[in-house]
């Protein structure tokens, strides 16, 4: 700093010296001393300008001016705390919404998956019949593994339920049991926390059964025993050795429709080789490409393998067997990418509205700061310098807004996570991290620049003489046109947001009214782990006699519960030609008698199952009305024969079988409330035994039930644990969570935009009234009645609102089709929504104009004219 001071003193002396010499020269030429000095000064020109320009060449002037501007800006903000508060709050809302959504987008769409070489991981889906994202059979998996040259490693997994008993804790704990091939875990994990992962040699024909356990299970069940490797645990009837423990942060990230939970507790190897080409399709397949191989190459290799299999095996040809290779990360987010992109667009619009609003505020202030600008300009500040100063001020404002936005974003993320949007949750930690901070900083700088530029240019573009002469009144009214234009922009942006929100809220309302095909109220479900048919049958009887329980049954797959791997397979009716067999699929459910009555599904024709429907009697099935309409249009489906896969010999020992249709039930929405995915076939439990969940319709509060249910379960079989008590209404609420989440967020965004817009309209109109107080007073003195004044103010104020709505309609027509994928029961460009939006926005605009208009009506002509 002292160096700078010395240089400034130097410069001062130099210039003083110069002017002195010139003065003396002039005196030598015979001028009077006074004139001589004046002539010298005139010849020199603007001293301040010369000094400033000279200092500008020193390099740090820019910084110096910047610091000066920042301090000046902060002082100005301090002088008008009301303005500062509104501007910072507006920006905080606009930027905060962006930061929050960015954090979500960053965690989900942008961050690589937390796996070694995760960019080379691909998921391999099988395409069979009309299903594109089907699991693979064990046989097909081995074919891919053997034939592929581009995958350096490939693994398969499926997850089921089991009960684990630990060394210290004899109480069986329900766990997710993952059955994997030897290559799977090392795709997702570099090295385990303890012991080792599976290797191909572990799949020897008579190798002892071994498991790898999750870090959580190791802590819970084994007290973090550091010498656990080599010990055994009880897994149902077997006692495998523990090979290793996974790291604490290990989790599986699979697409939502793959039914692979994030953290199975126990991993066990799938047995030996799969030799049956027609074996069950159950494996999710993930592979890692060789370095240098592209996904496109892997896809064409997979297509070639599928072609070979189609030719080699007839069944594969019949089903038009296909393979698709998709980057794991892309596939993982495919369900949420649309939602997130639209939210990102929404917060972008909100930020624009915030920018426009603050620009509007700044313009109003620039009007009242004309005097200051004029003085600075008269003192030799260049136009560029004034623009820079205004811009610095607005950037300071932007940064303050950004800082406040971080707080707001933090709170918003808390709320977002509280809403528990199901599809977002398993996709990793969403939090404010360094990237979010950088993003906020960049956005704050950028917005500061954007909303500041317009007012800064306006402030610098004015005529000095006029400014002094009129005291700025003309100037401020000159800004009026710009401010009207800004209000118009604001209204049209808000219109688009409101229209989009209207559509999403209507979608949500429709989703709320969707009839899922069953009546979830008063139905509680739970899942017993283990137990045979005899046990299930007895449990059904004994639970039915509990007080307050009206009916009891069980099903293999609860409706709208995606936590259990789906069971779907081909079916064909009697008489279907061979090329039409194995082309269409249905969801299969294994049920105990009385299921439809318990969940409130309606049996349209025929009968329900009875205890007599077992493998020893005629094999029967109940189909839904969708299937009946599809297969036997216009015919009576009762008694018709259907070819399906069932497993009377035991769980998952599938065989093709002919069943007779004995009943038709209305379609139950079992994957989504808004899409009919596949028709359904119900088979009696004895034909397809597999793990089931119980459902109870009860007239007593659910809180009283689990206790007595557990009692009954352990009375009948001490080794079975009753788990997962979930009301069916929770499953329905979960299925609504995405549309609820989207509707809630967009409504919040629209509310913010609406709030800002009404502030903008109010600000402009009230400024208009203040500026025209004199004119209004004059009109009233000349006989105008208050109603005329009100009409005039409203007309002026509403003009940008009405035009803004018109532009908004055009904007909505262009933008709302992007929402199409999220809408249900309402179409983009829905006329009623657009009309309602226009009406609503005009109403809000009218309200915002009305308050200043009332003030205008009360103008006292005498006071107004005196003020003028």
């Amino acid at each position: 700093m002292s160096r700078r001071k010395r240089m400034m003193e130097d410069l001062d002396r130099d210039i003083r010296d110069h002017i002195e010499r010139e003065t003396r020269d002039n005196i030598d030429r015979g001028m009077a001393p006074e004139d001589a000095r004046f002539a010298a000064l005139r010849k020199f020109g603007n001293v301040m300008r010369a000094k400033e320009d000279a200092r500008a060449t020193w390099g740090f002037l820019w910084l110096e001016q910047f610091v000066q501007d920042v301090r000046y800006g902060l002082r100005m903000l301090g002088k008008s705390p009301g303005f500062a508060a509104i501007a910072i709050l507006t920006l905080a809302l606009g930027i905060g919404a962006n930061t929050a959504i960015f954090s979500v987008v960053h965690a989900i769409l942008l961050k690589p998956l937390p796996y070694p070489a995760s960019s080379r991981l691909a998921i391999v889906w099988s395409g069979v019949g009309d299903a594109d994202r089907a699991p693979s059979s064990g046989f097909a998996f081995e074919q891919i593994r053997e034939r592929s040259r581009l995958f350096e490693q490939i693994g398969g997994i499926w997850v089921t339920n089991a009960a684990v008993t630990g060394a210290d804790d004899p109480q069986p704990e329900p766990v997710k049991l993952a059955e994997v091939t030897s290559g799977l875990l090392s795709l997702f994990c570099d090295r385990p926390a303890l012991g080792r992962l599976f290797v191909p040699q572990d799949v020897a024909p008579n190798a002892p059964v071994a498991v790898i356990v999750s870090n959580g299970l190791w802590r819970r069940k084994f007290g973090s025993d550091p010498r656990i490797v080599g010990k055994t645990l009880r897994l149902g009837p077997i006692a495998p050795t523990i090979l290793g423990v996974l790291p604490e942060d290990f989790r599986l990230i699979f697409p939502g429709d793959s039914s692979i939970p994030e953290s199975p507790d126990v991993y066990v190897l799938l047995p030996g080789r799969f030799t049956n080409p027609e074996g069950p399709e159950f494996l999710r397949v993930v592979g890692r490409l060789r370095p240098g191989a592209t996904f496109a190459e892997a896809q064409s290799e997979a297509a070639a393998i599928a072609r070979q299999l189609r030719t080699a095996i007839k069944g594969y040809g019949d089903q038009n067997y296909r393979l698709s290779v998709i980057p794991l990360h892309d596939d993982d987010v495919h369900g949420v990418r649309g939602v997130l992109t639209i939210l990102l667009g929404g917060v972008g619009l909100v930020l624009l509205v915030a920018c426009v609003n603050v620009a509007n505020l700044l313009l109003a202030r620039a009007g009242s700061r004309h005097g200051e600008t004029a003085v600075r300009s008269a003192l030799g500040a260049s136009r560029l310098r004034i623009i820079r100063q205004f811009l610095t001020e607005s950037i300071v404002l932007g940064l303050l807004g950004g800082a406040a936005a971080l707080v707001l974003a933090w709170a918003t993320l808390k709320v977002i996570l509280l809403l528990r949007p199901e599809p977002l949750l398993h996709l990793g930690a969403i939090r404010l991290d360094a990237a979010a901070f950088e993003f906020t900083f960049a956005i704050a700088l950028l917005t500061g620049f954007i909303f500041g530029l317009f007012p800064a240019l306006a402030a610098a573009r004015f005529d000095l003489a006029t400014a002094f002469r009129t005291g700025g009144r003309n100037l401020a009214s000159g800004h009026r046109r710009s401010r009207m234009a800004l209000v118009l922009v604001e209204v049209s942006l808000s219109f688009a947001l409101l229209a989009g929100t209207g559509l999403l809220v209507r979608t949500f309302l429709r989703v709320l009214r969707v009839d899922p095909g069953f009546q979830p109220a008063n139905v509680l479900s739970f899942t017993p782990l283990g137990g045979n048919y005899r046990f299930l049958h007895q449990l059904q009887q004994s639970l039915g006699s509990l007080p307050g329980v009206q009916s009891v049954s069980a099903v293999s797959h609860l409706p709208l519960d995606e936590s259990v791997a789906n069971w779907y397979d081909y079916y064909w009716p009697e008489g279907a030609p061979p090329d039409q067999q194995s082309t269409v699929m249905a969801d299969f459910r294994s049920v105990l008698p009385g299921y439809f009555k318990v969940i409130g599904a309606s049996l349209i024709e025929g009968r329900d199952f009875t205890d007599a429907d077992d493998p020893a009697h005629q094999h029967v099935a109940i189909v839904d009305d969708d299937l009946a309409r599809l297969v036997w249009p216009g015919q009576n489906p009762l008694g018709k024969k259907l070819n399906i896969s069932d497993s009377p010999a035991g769980p998952y020992q599938f065989q093709r079988d002919w069943v007779a249709v004995v009943g038709v039930v209305r379609h139950v929405q079992c994957h989504s409330l808004t899409r009919a995915v596949r028709p359904q076939v119900y088979v009696p439990f004895p034909l397809a035994p597999r793990p089931v969940s119980f459902v109870l319709r009860a007239s007593v509060p659910f809180s009283t039930l689990p206790g007595s249910i557990r009692q009954q379960v352990s009375r009948l079989n001490g080794t079975v644990a009753a788990t997962k008590f979930i009301p069916l209404s929770d499953l329905v609420a979960q299925a609504r969570s995405q549309s609820r989440f989207v509707a809630f967020l967009s409504a919040s965004l629209a509310a913010i935009a609406l709030f800002m817009t009404s502030i903008g309209i109010y600000g402009v109109v009230s400024c208009l009234v203040t500026l025209r107080t004199g004119e209004i007073g004059l009109r009233m003195a000349l006989g105008a009645i208050p109603a005329d004044v009100r009409r005039m103010v409203l007309r002026n104020g509403m003009a940008p609102v009405v035009f803004g709505c018109l532009v908004g309609i055009a904007l909505s027509v262009a933008l709302t089709p992007l929402l199409a994928a999220l809408l249900f029961g309402v179409r983009p460009n829905d006329l009623a929504t657009l009309a309602a939006t226009a009406l609503f926005l005009s109403g809000v605009g009218l309200l915002a104009c009305y308050i200043p208009a009332r003030r205008a009506m009360r103008v006292d002509p005498m006071v107004a004219l005196r003020y003028q």
């Binding site: 130097d10 110069h18 300008r49 010369a50 000094k51």
Partner: protein, 120 residues
């Protein structure tokens, strides 16, 4: 000495002031006022340097290393700041002069084509 009419005085082209300063200092070190006077005098008062703009230009040239500033006694024994051409400044002057000649010749060819032909 009658000063030429205001209309005949020329505004300096952007960047030419640097050239004039360097050229002036080729004759020896000088202080600011002397430089301004020399430029006006040597151009028969046609070139009127707005004296205020001389100082930013001097500081710019110092920063580029083409001239240096030093304290020294002036003619009547008062302290003054003298500006002196550096070695780099000397080389730069050659470059700038060459550029100026080419520019002047080019403009002359466009503005006075006939005379040019007559001469050659």
């Amino acid at each position: 000495m009658p000063a030429p009419d205001r209309k005949q005085r020329l505004e300096l082209l952007q960047g030419t002031l640097d050239l004039l300063i360097l050229r002036t200092l080729l004759l020896g070190p000088a202080h600011g006022h002397a430089i301004a006077k020399a430029i006006a005098f040597r151009s028969d008062d046609v070139l009127q340097v707005e004296e205020g703009s001389l100082y930013p230009a001097l500081h710019r040239l110092i920063r580029r290393g083409w001239i240096s500033a030093e304290e020294g006694p002036s003619e009547n024994n008062r302290r003054a700041k003298f500006y002196r051409l550096t070695g780099r400044g000397r080389r730069q002057l050659a470059v700038e002069t060459g550029k100026w000649d080419r520019l002047a010749a080019a403009i002359a060819r466009i503005v006075r084509p006939a005379e040019q032909e007559g001469k050659s």
